[in-house]
């Protein structure tokens, strides 16, 4: 059975913060490298995303990084110089198409961006459980959020029910794994058919249960267990401070880079280094929170 809401192997501190902060962080972490394709920024992003995903997912995450993210990055890095021929430093002709140094550099940067986005999303999947999403969007799209919650309740139930149907039909001599190809397909179809009827018909009582508890009355609210406490306020303040500084420095353009027609970047100005420092600070902040908590628990345990 597939589990819903991939909560990572480790209990995360950052996941314990308010969903708004979780969402804010990932929104920032994913979009900044997409918007500002600067090599240094990208390296910071990739490093922090990799570190955090490995922290959250352990060996599995490392394997995912090697087995999936790395090939995708290589592909992306190769894609660019093969299809784009701008840039003035030609190093090779591939089937009469010039391969330029600039497009290779650009491809590498783009690959780094893709890698960090994918890795950030693995962290997002571990931290932003369905609950949090439903909480954040429950007010905005209440009906759809409720559908999501209902579907998430039904899916494991359906997965179990399919097993039951298969067993039940086997019990009266309709095994799904025997017979010719067509028989098996037909039997599989019958299982689906039973499943669909069962799901739809039993839903009627669910609808009644919603009606009985007043669904449809005007002015429905969305409740959640999440509270915005002082710890959240502190993190929000640090996020806001660092992110606005970072964005301000980035937008004012001190950290600019030119890829074509010749790759050039300006010397890093003091203002630009502030941007980089801030970006690194934000990107590594969740990981730092986790590590601090680990240290705290180690010290608590050693005192016992």
């Amino acid at each position: 059975m597939i589990r819903i809401g991939r909560e990572g192997g480790r209990k995360s501190v950052f996941a314990g913060y308010h969903p708004l902060l979780n969402f804010m962080f990932f929104g920032y972490a994913v979009s900044v490298p997409i918007f500002f394709l600067h090599p240094l920024l990208l390296i910071i992003s990739l490093a922090s995303a990799l570190a955090y995903s490995i922290y959250l997912g352990g060996r599995k995450a490392a394997l995912f990084g090697l087995g999936f993210v790395l090939p995708v990055m290589l592909l992306a890095a190769a894609f660019n110089p093969l299809f784009f021929h701008r840039g003035e430093t030609i190093i090779y002709y591939f089937y009469y198409n010039p391969i330029t140094l600039e497009s290779i550099i650009y491809g590498l940067c783009n690959a780094t961006m893709i890698g960090s986005v994918i890795l950030w999303f693995t962290c997002y999947n571990a931290i932003m459980t369905s609950d949090k999403f439903i909480y954040l969007f429950g007010r905005l799209v209440p009906a759809m959020s409720l559908i999501i919650a209902m579907a998430l309740r039904l899916i494991p139930r359906y997965q179990a029910q399919v097993q039951r149907i298969v067993a039940a039909r086997r019990g009266i001599g309709f095994d799904v794994s025997t017979g010719g190809y067509l028989t098996r397909v037909r039997n599989g179809g019958e299982v689906l058919s039973v499943m669909v009827t069962w799901a739809l018909e039993n839903g009627i009582e669910t609808g009644d249960s919603m009606l009985a508890r007043g669904y449809g009355l005007p002015g429905r609210t969305a409740y959640s267990n999440y509270r915005f406490d002082s710890r959240d306020r502190l993190l929000l303040a640090s996020f806001l401070g660092l992110m606005t500084t970072d964005l301000f420095c980035l937008v004012t353009g001190t950290l600019s880079v030119q890829y074509y027609s010749r790759f050039m970047w300006e010397n890093i100005q003091p203002f630009a280094s502030i941007a980089l420092v801030c970006h690194a600070a934000v990107s590594f902040l969740p990981l730092a929170l986790e590590l601090r908590e680990d240290a705290l628990w180690r010290s608590l345990r050693s005192r016992i």
Partner: protein, 281 residues
């Protein structure tokens, strides 16, 4: 009360259809053709995400009743469970087939919601990523179009009553060619059956191949080349994507052949039992 209410809803649906079917591709085209900005990926990502807003607003604004939510949630859950059941076979998924069936029997808006939410919810299992909005949009729009084509056509073919309002009991594509009207003419029946299946299969195959396949391939290209746009790159990706998209399209056709008739019959029955008939157009 139900009369004007229904008309307003269908107007909303029309607005949504216009917005999506005309405006969004237009914006994409303008961006691709006229702006030499390097943020194609971001622009397209934003457009895709925003394009779902009118659907969401229409759906939310309608304040769907409890039973309608249940039917949609059940269909979403079935679709996602179907996707997980076939997780080991790449691209061989019943998702599009289910979404088309949902659109055809519940209407365009619900078709979109089932499609988009199926993609979203299943990514809670398979992992959310930059592809999520694209998948949501692709599945959603397929459900939407299926609803427009089959639900509307069904309603217009089903004889309208004298006061001009649609007769809800005619509002299903199954009643398109009401088999009972053909009486005992067996050959006519068979012809109709065959035609019906052919139409559905052609639509579902094309929708999967073109809409889903090309949309997601475009997303991949835009992501891979975030700074620039290259026709050759796009074409290369489309070409390399053909086998996968072909598998997906044929899977959709297969599942539809297997599921369409029984599923729509079951949905019709439940719609009747729930009193959902004519809830929307």
């Amino acid at each position: 009360m139900p009369g004007p209410e229904k008309r307003r809803l269908s107007n909303r649906t029309k607005v949504a259809a216009v917005l999506v079917i005309l405006c969004i591709p237009l914006v994409i085209a303008i961006n691709i053709l006229f702006f030499e900005d390097r943020s194609y990926y971001i622009t397209s990502f934003v457009i895709i995400a925003l394009s779902m807003v009118p659907f969401a607003l229409v759906f939310e604004g309608r304040k769907p009743q409890a039973r309608e939510l249940v039917v949609i949630a059940v269909l979403v859950a079935l679709t996602v469970a179907g996707r997980t059941a076939f997780f080991m076979v790449p691209q061989f998924k019943p998702v599009v087939a289910m979404v088309i069936i949902a659109g055809a029997s519940l209407g365009a808006e619900s078709g979109f919601v089932v499609g988009a939410l199926s993609a979203f919810v299943s990514n809670f299992i398979f992992g959310q990523g930059p592809w999520t909005p694209w998948q949501m949009f692709a599945f959603g729009i397929i459900g939407f179009i299926a609803g427009l084509l089959f639900y509307q056509l069904a309603a217009s073919i089903g004889a309208p009553s004298r006061d001009g309002s649609m007769r809800p009991e005619n509002a299903s594509y199954l009643k398109w060619y009401d088999i009972n009207r053909l009486g005992s003419n067996v050959r006519a029946r068979r012809r109709v059956e065959r035609l019906r299946i052919l139409v559905l299969c052609v639509f579902s195959g094309t929708a999967t191949f073109v809409l889903y396949g090309f949309l997601l391939d475009t997303a991949a290209v835009l992501m891979f080349t975030s700074g620039e746009f290259s026709w050759t790159g796009l074409v290369a990706t489309y070409v390399s994507g053909i086998p996968m998209n072909a598998v997906h399209a044929s899977a959709t056709v297969c599942f539809l052949l297997l599921l369409a008739k029984p599923m729509i019959e079951k949905l019709e029955r439940v719609k009747k039992k729930y009193g959902l008939l004519g809830a929307q157009a």
